[in-house]
């Protein structure tokens, strides 16, 4: 499978502690304004805006206008795609083993 450019953008967006902190903040409490997010980061408003723009370009943050307020939401879909691509396949045999065990134990009770 050819590597798509948006995968690079995604990993670059994640490769910064301030941007991960912004994602953590949205994960804890979604739908925040720039002002609310600025309170938690020791940097200028412009700095936070730039980080949010990188996150939005990587589709990790989605924004919605509510009146005059721009709200920022954590968008986990690109992370789900990483999970699907590299992790899901390793979980299947393990999950199947647990499911089989459960089935066998429950049969034993009946």
């Amino acid at each position: 499978m050819a590597e798509r450019p948006d995968t690079d953008v995604l990993f670059k967006a994640l490769a910064d502690p301030s941007r991960r902190k912004l994602l953590d903040l949205l994960h804890a409490n979604d739908g925040r304004t720039l002002n609310e997010l600025c309170e938690y980061l020791d940097m200028t408003r412009q700095g936070v805006t730039q980080h949010l723009n990188v996150l939005e370009a990587a589709n990790l943050v989605a924004t919605v206008w509510r009146g005059r307020e721009k709200l920022h939401f954590l968008n986990p879909v690109p992370l789900q795609e990483i999970y699907d691509r590299w992790i899901a396949k390793f979980e299947k045999p393990r999950l199947k083993a647990i499911a089989d065990l459960k089935k066998r134990l429950e049969k034993g009770n009946g």
Binding site: A62, P76, Q80, L95, I98
Partner: protein
């Protein structure tokens, strides 16, 4: 008023018509929604329901707006678990916007209460469904066949 919302966005390489049909065709839906499907006439005012693979109804409501292939708004209430049903109606807005060679698909789900167990429950499911839908439309196959292989 306090509200709980989530917004999920993905970019899918497909035509708006194909994506709209993927979101409204029951048989196609089952392929990426783990056997679940939604049934409706998909016109404003028509009833809408979500049906589990075993035939039980998980959620029900009404189509508030339908503007194919651009915008769909569903009045949505959970049915099977009392603690989620008691939270009342939510609103799900699905928007499709052309974006270069792809479509920007956004799903905004809101309930007028905070915190909300319902929003917590659906927010876990949507990314898997959207990711599967994207994969199915772009590559012809889904990645995840079962969302919760142990508990089901």
């Amino acid at each position: 008023m306090a509200r709980s919302t989530f917004v999920y966005v993905t970019y899918i390489r497909a035509t708006p018509e194909k994506l709209w049909s993927a979101l409204t065709d029951a048989e196609f839906m089952k392929q990426y929604w783990f056997g679940t499907h939604c049934a409706s006439q998909w016109t404003a005012g028509s009833p809408w329901k979500m049906v589990y693979p075993d035939g039980n109804i998980s959620d029900a409501g009404e189509i508030v707006e339908a503007d194919p292939p651009r915008r769909l708004v569903i009045r949505w209430q959970h049915q099977s678990k009392p603690e989620l049903k008691n939270e009342g109606e939510s609103r799900c807005t699905i928007e499709l916007e052309p974006f270069g060679t792809a479509i920007r698909l956004s799903i905004t789900h809101t309930i007028e209460r905070e915190p909300s167990k319902f929003i917590e429950a659906v927010s876990g499911g949507w990314p898997k469904i959207i990711s599967n839908l994207k994969s199915l439309l772009e590559t012809g196959s889904v990645v995840l066949l079962d969302p919760y292989p142990v508990t089901r």
